[in-house]
Symmetry: C2
Subunit: 337 residues, 2 copies
């Protein structure tokens, strides 16, 4: 089968930052299904892995990355019960395994959902990784529920990216929160409002802008940009008994004690925790994806697709990574095979 | 009225670490009730405030501390709706206001519960601050529910103290968790089992003891000892998607990123957050105390009282603080007026 990968970590503009190659089509065992891929999307995790996983080394066989796909089940392992050959599926996958930048991919059925009907392959391919991340952060990590939290306020730092675009929708439509997001350019501001944000503030003057918007403090904060650089501002902006969560990681230690007097909570969300640790509840991702599919089908949620590239080519992957690395991406970029 | 306080922060063995004095009996306004106190308990926060709030200074009037009391309502402010003169109440109070080491005390009705019937004043006085702390950490900060979490595991570091003693009971009886606690002496081990702990491990060899007990990792961890010194062990012992919470504060920054790959959450609990910030939901403490009263009355929970001193005297307060400062206290010490 055809695949695209890399043997060494190179800047995206270098000739061999991605290479096309032929490799054996894999066969499914156990709970794995084999999917013939129709479209994939790119996420920041892709370029982080590309930049860091083969530094100062040359791999014998190219590494295939990419964690978001739509496709058709073409074979199933002997323990598979949720899907059969011919089913249309979408999924993010498992960062410890080979990715979706290939004609075929193996994936554990417990982290796969049925592809939403009525959406194009590219509209569907935009959704799995970011929807899982946003769903898990809001409902599994922070345990937000409409019943307890409707009408409370949430600030999202970095609203226009892939996770922000769907987190805005889930926070607004499913949890019933008042959603404030940061964005600084006219086009990102417009996009965040389109996704459902009630208020857009500029991150460059965040504390003042929040006061002026009538939200000197909020009940929840999601950090999609940088935990360390926003720590002091989040400490100030979070309400007593509030909850901060982040997907970014932090390079430096933090003064956790800053949150004590206010009894604040902090959560990390890493979408690959369930597959990576094979948690007992990893099938939760199957259920989340099916719920998201239903919400996309009935129009509650809309695809965050903004940009479609045609063909699984080295050039398209380079363009997609370069756009994400620029930090200017709005919504999601998809590559349609 | 008679009260006991201090004008300067002194070691507990110093003659004037506490002094008895006469002061004006206060009058209730607004939502305040005036309580004639029958018994108080002591908590670690008491000696921390005594040791630190009047360092290198001498206050003009003595500071009255103490945040736990049982008593009778003897007057009410003009906005009081929950209580009337003659009601028996119990409460922890507000750290920003004058404490309970006095004949009378003002307290906002929204953080007061009705005194449980069938318990002695000293049995009841042992409960408010620690019950509020344990209830808030489990059910408000971590959002644990029997429905979602029954059968999961919780480790409590420091099980035999005041908060541990009631947290064990709530985790076991209300949340349905498997409760593992640390204790190292025969008498603390015995006490923790009496409170309902399923497993007691020695903190000196924690990781190995947890493995041997069949709990190499747990779903929840409560730290009642020291966040910084247990950080690395908690990082190892927490399950993917687990939740750590602490009441201790941390003097040094922590490597929060250690929890990222496992998508772990961390919460602080500070019982005074609601009264200190006058949160919109501060009446939650009224409801929690009433629930705890009902659970004490029907025998689901039992008082954690272990030690009763008779009389509001300087000597008794010194003894009670010295015991807490030793770190060897089991359950709760109460002073009966």
């Amino acid at each position: 089968m055809k695949a695209i990968g890399f043997k060494t970590s190179l800047a995206i503009k270098e000739k061999d930052s991605f290479i096309a190659f032929e490799t054996q089509k894999p066969e499914p065992k156990g709970k794995d299904i084999l999917v013939k891929i129709a479209a994939v999307s790119v996420n920041p995790v892709d370029y982080k892995v590309r930049q860091n996983s083969a530094k100062d080394t040359v791999l014998k066989t190219p590494k295939i990355i990419g964690w978001d796909a739509v496709g058709t089940v073409v074979a199933v392992g002997n323990e598979v019960t949720l899907f059969k050959t011919g089913d249309q599926v979408f999924y993010a996958g498992d960062i410890t395994r080979s990715g979706s930048n290939a004609e075929y991919q193996l994936v554990d059925e417990r982290i796969v959902g049925r592809r939403p009907e009525g959406l194009t392959p590219e509209e569907a391919a935009a959704m799995p990784l970011t929807s899982l991340t946003a769903w898990e952060i809001l409902f599994d990590r922070m345990r937000i529920s409409a019943e307890k939290d409707k009408g409370k306020s949430i600030l999202m730092i970095g609203g226009a990216g892939g996770v922000g675009s769907i987190a805005i929708q889930l926070a607004k439509k499913i949890a019933g929160l008042n959603v404030i997001v940061t964005a600084s350019r006219p086009e990102t501001t417009e996009w965040c409002k389109e996704m459902g944000a009630d208020v857009v503030v500029n991150h460059k003057d965040l504390l003042n802008q929040m006061k002026e918007a009538g939200y000197p403090q909020v009940d929840f904060i999601l950090d999609f940009v940088n935990t360390n650089s926003y720590w002091d501002k989040m400490v100030e902006l979070i309400k007593p008994q509030g909850h901060i969560a982040s997907i970014t990681g932090s390079a430096d230690p933090v003064v956790l004690n800053d949150l004590k007097t206010k009894s604040v909570s902090f959560s990390w969300e890493f979408m690959f925790t369930r597959p990576m640790f094979q948690t007992e509840d990893m099938i939760a991702q199957h259920h989340i994806l099916n719920k998201v599919a239903a919400l996309l089908e009935n129009g509650t949620l809309k695809s965050t697709l903004t940009n479609t590239l045609n063909g699984l080519t080295v050039e398209n992957l380079k363009d997609a990574h370069a756009l994400l690395e620029s930090g200017k991406a709005i919504g999601k970029t998809v590559i349609k095979f």
